[in-house]
Point group: C2
Chain length 241, copies 2
């Protein structure tokens, strides 16, 4: 390629990368705001989350369009192709993260005014802290092209899954103790599941960053989420793991 073409291709790659970082920041804010709205019962903030998710969707479309255009125009190979394909994939995960945060926001609005002891949300708060940390770290790993950091994030996925499985049981217990908790706890179960899935997407992004930087795939993910397989039988019946 002539030198000016190389330079402007480089510019295009950088621009796509910049957009992914920007989108990551926006998605991260959405998740943080959705969790804050849940813990503080801040309905106005929850409504904002529901609205702002549309901008994350828009960003995903822009990144995808631009990336496809660059692939067609520049026919990139090796590192450059990995960089662009990774941008498409990360934007896809970030869009899903935005959707999940939006769903948390909707549920916060739903349970407004319901019987709602603060202890019920404490477990959700803990898992959210961990997930937000993972999301922040993996976005840093992407921005810095740091594969070691991506592997660190990837290795911590199991902790979130374990926490979610125990939270799942805890919320079922609250429902059994007091039927007034059933409606709120059901929404909290979905909120917790959404947040756990945000953690899964952070792990996906870690895998993509690793692939982008190294050209290699990480091995199969160690899964510790047993909640789909978890039941809390009625007292007197055996508990299945």
């Amino acid at each position: 390629m002539p030198e000016h073409t190389v330079a402007s291709f480089d510019q295009e790659l950088k621009e796509i990368g910049r957009k992914v970082v920007e989108m990551g920041g926006q998605a991260e804010r959405l998740v943080a705001d959705s969790v804050t709205s849940l813990i503080k019962r801040d309905i106005a903030l929850a409504q904002k989350v529901v609205l702002v998710d549309a901008t994350v969707d828009q960003m995903q479309r822009e990144i995808e369009d631009r990336a496809i255009l660059v692939i067609a125009k520049r026919q990139p190979v090796a590192n450059d192709l990995r960089e662009i394909v990774s941008a498409i994939r990360i934007a896809n995960d970030l869009e899903r993260i935005g959707d999940l945060a939006k769903n948390v926001g909707k549920r916060v609005i739903a349970i407004e005014g319901e019987y709602h002891p603060q202890k019920l949300v404490r477990g959700v708060e803990h898992i959210s802290d961990l997930v937000l940390e993972q999301l922040k770290e993996v976005l840093d790993a992407y921005a810095a092209r740091n594969e070691a950091k991506a592997v660190e994030v990837w290795g911590r996925d199991g902790a979130i899954d374990t926490m979610y499985t125990s939270l799942f049981r805890e919320l079922l217990t609250y429902m059994m103790e007091d039927p007034r908790n059933i409606s709120v706890c059901t929404h909290l179960l979905f909120c917790a599941k959404n947040i756990e899935r945000i953690g899964d997407h952070a792990t996906n992004i870690a895998e993509i960053v690793y692939y982008m930087v190294s050209g290699q795939n990480l091995p199969d993910r160690p899964k510790a989420d047993a909640s789909s397989e978890t039941t809390l039988a009625f007292p007197g019946r055996s508990v299945q793991g």
Copy 2:
């Protein structure tokens, strides 16, 4: 392009399309099997669903890799580019559909042997019938490049959402009536939500098919799913919509 190049490009497009159709058939079977395993409490079938999902994931990767390669090699524009980008997007939705079916399978395994009156799954069966029909139709619309059929599928999304919202309330009622139902109903709520989301992905695919064939976007989707906003307050409290 020289004639033989055009012919082989055509061949590549057709091959990608064929793979998407094949993947659609596989995803459809997974969904049908997961629902059957739930209704018949067929653990062996549920286990098969959990295993077979990996082949759907593999198909998605193949379609994406091949599509990116064709974009880089052929620099397609207009119709051809839309065709390839649509294949990537549909494969993405189908992969998510496979994941959701797999999660239903996991939950079927979880609730084996639990107190589990058959009436509890009846509502899930109804919504599944509707979703499977939507999925089948939209895959037909894709295979036939039939935009009118895509619009029909798209327009029926609201019916699934309405049914899901009512099922959500029904399952909460069963939990409140008898705490022995709480554990199973919680898993059924997640199954129902998964199936409703499969319906959402079918609607996404309808939008993609419409865009692929016409080059236009459908307007914003009419949403009728109010379950995130639905609570069923404890008897004696007001019901919030």
